[in-house]
Point group: C2
Chain length 589, copies 2
């Protein structure tokens, strides 16, 4: 089937003498998750991982993906004729090196500019400048029979009761930022930013309550480009009252083309596709930077934070019910990772105003938990036994906001190593929770602080410590990031970020403890304006694996104090054995 | 006197209708310290601080300097007609804003390109593009009567016994780096890099045993441009045998001009002056980056490290003798900060192969220590009393290498605050000493780890945590830096770096504890190649102010273990009351 698709693609390529065709994993908005309609890379290769790019030449085809997907890709590419190129592994050529090697010096390279990020295109141009790059070729669209439609679900209004700010107020702030930067226009392509600004949400992408659309803001006009059939009367009226004009999704290209020369337009090259860029008059001046809405939406207001706290209580209640159910059922030897993840979904669904899960649940027992991005597959997932660790990383979208939580539970007896690693991960988690820092501290600087207790024991984990979390939007959002990669963004009050250190021992066990925290002001004095973190998540952290002698008095205090609050917050919503479970699991150590 | 100089400068400016003349604090090599010959900014303004730029227009004159020098500059600028512009203070115009405001739109701005860093010039060009910028105007040279000569002291050979590598070996490595980068030539303007590469040292700049020179390296030829009269026969022979040709200092311009078009030259824009840049043919291609020698010299080899350890023992012996002497003399009320700094110099001089101090000693009692860059002035410095803290930050150049050390001593009774702050600074210091980290950790990521114990108490200090230290070269060297400023340079084995957290309470007291450490390999395992630090400095850390209850068991262990080693290393070189002092000050707590 895949071979047949590649053959048809090559026929198309041959017609126009194209030497290499690039199929990225991307939609016109550079979304993290894609609607089925945009899964072109999956269509052409059969590979279902979230990250990967396919390049097809007349006699070769390759998939480039990262370490998370090596095993999966190897399996899924079997007998497709597509070679796997393992990114980050020594001596594996990059896509650009491959194209340079496999195509003639002035060969034609083609791609579909409507789904290709402008930023990546610039890199191609820089390296492949001498080759001809065509950006208007949508061959997958041409060969894809029964391609899923672009979703047409109705949009809903996200009321001021939840957002705290109307669109007109947000536009006012955005325009003052544009004025400061000297920008006449701001194009916005990323769906989370548009939904944030317009106070709308939808169901166009699984796990992401966003709406496929573009926005173009000038000092006078704010246009939302969207399939009008999706927009109910109520939303139309709201937007009109807030100074927003609705236009058809594809009208963006016309409107961009009409921007008068010498105007200044602000765009985010990482969140703009090539066709958008090409639609703009060549004598319009560009300012490139992060979408100005990114920082606005990262700093949650009081109303948003209040709702988020509710969402986390609902989440806490669901998880306590789930843990109680799980621990009762596990000794029967009948529960699989996949099945229990489904049950967790059920418990969440009981929460008021639950909308959907915020990402695919990581439900991993024993050695499977050593794969930080493991996802159980129906019918093939492991059975949970009454020893070792079970790790669950999951989250929900509620009308009250988005949650994300990881807990690692002792299902029975643990090895000394398991206890030791669990205690160190907990120390790292608490280290960040206790860390106050002066305003001006870059978010990445908090990463090394968290890892310190692990580094001292010559342990580490191979993912970031913390990501921003959207508000009924993507569970991963910037601009802050607590990771080893230098990040120039200050951690600021109102930012909502995860704290999720871990330890992963291949073939044995995996541990991660994740809370979501909000950055708050602590004290301003002559040394600085000190900020710190406060948890939003209140869910028991398993104390059974803790080696108490490894914790400092402050760490023990933090843990006991945290559990006291967990009990206070969740106990009103639990009864019977679920209440008992909460009580037992929040006892002092 | 200053007024007269400014008047004469303005006469010169009027002749050529120059609207603004810029006098930076710089020499042709962008050295941190300047030979007297290059102190043009001091000559024109009377301001003696190490950092500052003067701009003179026909009716205004200004000095721009940073917070360290506000008080000193205010005093020194009195009655000069030069206004002080406090950098970093709100609403104070930058130099560029001042020029934009004070000169006509197409006015002429001039400077002496021979001492102006190319990097700063690029910024000027970017912002003042519309103005005419002349870069060949040396007016200070023209009006400066009795200008000190460029130093003519003899160069000496730094033997392989000390450097561990001959110049020919270093050239081989450098050329392989050039080849990798695709560079045909590497121009080197920074004196430390040249001295490192050529294995020579000299006496051209106080506190910096460097030699005024340029170097130009190609695949075939290595040229050293220097006042030939300074180079003894022995050095000439050594360099010739190592493939280096000696040329006259000024010949660099001719040689640069002769580089054939389409060649590729590698330069460091921060360490290259404007005239050098302009001397190069316009169709030569540039690669810009840090001098390639910078990383080579930052990673000390085994021979260098062995010698450095010796140097620190000599330094430790000198400091113990000094502390013993100081504590005996202080109660007499006769010792001033300035006088004791002189005595410390005497104690250092007793060390074998001592060359000179590596920077001006910071000798500060009581509230003076709250100024991190305080320097006592003869006849005006404070008297040391038998209470509170005395802080001394000093270092030496020995043939065995360069030292730098800060200790804060209890001179008698201390307040609770003093003890509390001292203990926290010690905790921060130990935090970094105990920190292991995987290879790939950026040097700046270690900064937040060090500050963590202070941040938790809502305290902080307003300088970097650690700087690289040269090997019989500048006491401050890159490329690594442990500071709040993001630094992309990995901390690597062999790097020698300071660890110097502090707390400064204005009007009351100042504390800093500084050791020099070498980065070493600890353990390679599945989680990474773990590195850590080992002290090079072995000098007692005053334990009298320590609030033991604030230290963790690991911190107490570190301190006791450190003092055990201090005793082992220094005791063979001390006798009588000096031995007793060492014994007492290295007791376990």
């Amino acid at each position: 089937m895949i071979k047949n698709r590649i053959r048809r693609l090559r026929e198309k390529m041959a017609e126009r003498k194209i030497d290499a065709y690039i199929i990225p994993s991307s939609d016109p908005h550079q979304s993290e998750y894609l609607a089925d309609h945009y899964k072109t890379r999956e269509y052409i290769s059969g590979f279902t991982g979230s990250a990967g790019t396919v390049v097809v030449t007349m006699d070769k085809a390759g998939l480039w993906t990262d370490g998370r997907y090596f095993i999966q890709a190897e399996e899924q590419l079997k007998d497709t004729g597509i070679d796997l190129y393992r990114m980050g592994v020594e001596n594996v050529p990059t896509i650009i090196e491959f194209i340079q090697r496999e195509t003639p010096e002035h060969g034609k390279v083609a791609l579909d500019g409507s789904s290709y990020p402008y930023d990546n295109y610039l890199q191609l141009l820089k390296k492949l400048g001498s080759r001809m790059i065509l950006t208007d070729i949508d061959y997958i669209g041409e060969i894809w029979e029964n391609r899923p439609e672009i979703p047409g679900d109705k949009v809903f209004l996200y009321e001021k009761e939840y957002t705290g700010q109307n669109t007109s107020e947000k536009l006012q702030i955005l325009r003052s930022k544009m004025r400061e930067a000297g920008a006449d226009y701001h194009f916005i392509g990323s769906l989370e930013d548009i939904c944030y600004l317009m106070n709308i949400r939808g169901h166009d992408i699984s796990f992401n309550p966003v709406v496929i659309s573009y926005a173009l803001i000038s000092m006078e006009v704010a246009n939302l480009y969207i399939d009008m059939a999706k927009v109910p009367e109520e939303v139309l009226n709201y937007l009109r009252d807030n100074g927003v004009r609705i236009k058809d999704y594809d009208r963006i290209f016309e409107d961009l083309a009409e921007i008068p020369g010498k105007s200044v337009i602000y765009i985010d090259p990482k969140r703009t596709n090539v066709n958008i860029y090409h639609a703009i008059n060549s004598n319009v001046r560009f300012i490139k930077g992060r979408n100005m809405t990114e920082m606005m939406k990262a700093i949650k207001n009081e109303v948003e934070l209040e709702h988020l706290k509710n969402a986390f209580i609902k989440d806490g209640v669901a998880l306590v019910k789930f843990f109680n159910w799980l621990e009762t059922g596990a000794p029967t030897g009948t529960l699989t990772e996949y099945y229990v993840a489904d049950r967790l979904h059920d418990f969440r669904r009981e929460g008021e105003d639950f909308i959907e899960e915020s990402f695919g649940t990581i439900s991993a027992y024993g050695e499977n938990a050593a794969l930080p991005h493991y996802s159980p597959i129906k019918g093939r997932s492991a059975t949970i036994k009454n020893r070792g660790f079970y790790l669950v990383d999951s989250g929900g979208h509620y009308l009250d906001g988005t949650t994300d939580i990881t807990r690692t539970l002792a299902m029975g007896d643990l090895s000394e190593d398991e206890k030791y690693h669990y205690t160190l991960v907990l120390k790292a988690h608490i280290q960040l929770m206790l860390c106050d820092f002066p305003r001006g501290t870059k978010s990445s600087m908090l990463d090394s602080i968290t890892r310190y207790p692990l580094w001292r024991e010559h342990l580490d984990f191979n993912h970031g410590t913390g990501h921003g979390v959207g508000y009924l939007l993507s569970v991963h959002e910037g601009p802050q990031s607590i990771s080893k990669v230098n990040n120039e963004v200050d951690m600021l009050p109102g930012m909502v970020t995860s704290n999720e250190p871990g330890i992963y021992i291949e073939g044995s066990h995996g541990i991660r403890i994740e809370n979501i925290m909000v950055c708050i002001r602590k004290e301003e004095n002559e040394f600085g304006d000190f900020l710190g973190f406060e948890p939003l998540s209140y869910i028991p952290i398993d104390t059974r694996p803790v080696m108490k002698e490894l914790l400092s008095p402050e760490e023990i205090d933090w843990l006991n104090d945290y559990h006291k609050k967990v009990f206070e917050k969740l106990s009103p919503y639990l009864e019977g054995d679920e209440f008992d479970y909460l009580e037992k699991s929040t006892l002092e150590i």
